[in-house]
Subunit: 307 residues, 2 copies
């Protein structure tokens, strides 16, 4: 068993999960506490852009933890999204911005949750509260996480706290947030290496309501048109997924991060839900949803209400 306390984000890690675990380690060191940031999966292209920019290595990959391993969770709490073996680990603390579910401990712990757009914004406030100086490296890590989770402050999950944090971090980091952020987000939209099967699985979640199962997948892009060149093949793999998983509906949202719109492809027996949910008719199984960029705040609640 590793002596150091592990800090990690969720499986299939995004930029917030990676950057916030690294920032947590830095903050812990300032508090006189040796912890070690690790990760539960591959680094995506967006996050790789951040690491390359800073010329630093990704945290070490771990597959599972041993019984009794001391851990700190960031950017998640649900055991199903956490490391294998989490049930028998000793959870010392959690820093998160999600709802709490499928989570329990056998001992009292530190738990800091705030309903912000990003975990890094909570860590930013910890630096402030403890009077620690924020240096360039952690400023860029935190700014990158906020840019990623809020799509450059355009997502409806964005709060005033995220805006304020990003504004101050921009100065410390010595970057132009809009230029840097757009390059970073664009790096994450390079879908060339992905097969269609992989593409619909980059960021996908299955939901269930009264025995009706449906799935919402999302990809970010700077050109919806580019992604739609693969429309026929995408529909093929979506229909295959519907059959294999017994889904009533599959929605793939292709989100234009420059213009904050999403083109959706909707397939399955329950596609009529889309009309009621978004007041839009599907044409060729597709619809453009203007201003829609968030699964959590826009796609999911509207579909869930009408399915």
């Amino acid at each position: 068993m590793e002596n150091k306390v592990f800090v990690f984000g969720h499986k299939n890690p995004d930029t917030d999960s990676i950057c916030s675990s690294m920032v947590h380690e830095i903050l812990d060191k300032k508090n006189g506490w040796e912890t070690k940031a690790v990760r539960l999966g591959n680094i995506n292209k967006e996050t790789q852009y951040v690491l390359d920019y800073l010329k630093i290595e990704a945290p070490e990959l771990i597959e599972k933890v041993e019984e009794g391993q001391e851990v700190l969770l960031v950017d998640h709490n649900e055991f199903s999204q956490s490391v294998d073996g989490i049930e028998k680990a000793k959870i010392l603390g959690v820093t998160d911005h999600h709802k709490i579910a499928n989570f329990e401990t056998s001992e009292p712990l530190y738990y800091t949750a705030k309903p912000y757009g990003c975990t890094a914004t909570i860590l930013y406030e910890e630096f402030k509260a403890l009077g620690h100086t924020i240096e360039r490296k952690e400023a860029i890590l935190m700014a990158s996480a906020i840019i990623s989770d809020t799509l450059l402050l355009k997502s409806p999950t964005t709060t005033q706290k995220d805006k304020k944090a990003l504004e101050e971090l921009e100065t410390i980091a010595g970057i132009n947030v809009n230029e840097y952020g757009l390059e970073m987000l664009k790096a994450g939209t390079d879908l060339d290496d992905f097969t269609e099967e992989e593409l619909i699985n980059i960021d996908s979640k299955v939901f269930e309501k009264e025995n009706i199962k449906y799935e919402i997948a999302q990809v970010n892009t700077v050109s919806i048109e580019d992604v739609l060149k693969r429309e026929e093949k995408l529909k093929e793999v979506i229909n295959k997924t519907i059959e294999e998983k017994g889904l009533s509906l599959f929605v793939l949202a292709i989100t234009d991060i420059l213009n904050s719109n999403s083109e959706i492809i909707a397939l399955g027996e329950k596609t009529d839900v889309i009309k009621v949910a978004f007041n839009k008719e599907l044409e060729n199984d597709k619809a453009l949803l203007e201003g829609v960029v968030s699964r959590k705040k826009q796609l999911l609640p509207n579909i869930d209400k009408n399915i």
Copy 2:
């Protein structure tokens, strides 16, 4: 449905649950937010001493909450210890010092947990972090909660943070913590009004391990001898409880808050556990456990390990 956000501690409220909900309301007001402290049960004699000292009224009693009622929890998180209807309430925040279990939300929220001896110590740190002045009333409420939960800093649940908070609160409150605290704790030990049935239920919890059910009850006193005058009647009602609930063991801890010892009465088929757990032979179903005052940190883990 009440418009104001309700703030409350656990059912069968102790001094921390009552005082911390009142302090939370005061803190919220300083943050420009109108909330209302309420309570889920009767005020015990110890807490009544605090309210009388401050010449203030207890928070309003509530039985349940309506669907969608906005609430803030202090000093607990488990739904089984919370208000009836909690599953359908909107939980905006939690401030607590217990392990997390049987708790979930459907939305992101504020959650502040720290492994301290008392919820009020966490609230004290919030006042500090936000730069708010602590006035006499809230200083006495917080000091009382810390004194109660830590038995005047003698319980092994006490942390350095609790000590530091109580030290500063003593000055603001303008009280002598030892004198005030002892009077307050003594007020809580007045057991004259209680029948033996009531006495073993003042502060009692049932535990279960591999289908073995056992119960640990605790009463605080300044004279163990005084309580033991009722020994025969207490044994009678304990045996009745064992039979009714199908318990393998019932331990009543009579805790001397002046000398930090507990005399236990142990009955049931599994009383041999006591010898292994505490290295003490029962004599007439009783044993004096020196230095033992905490169910959470001393009685429960030792019994649980050996049952």
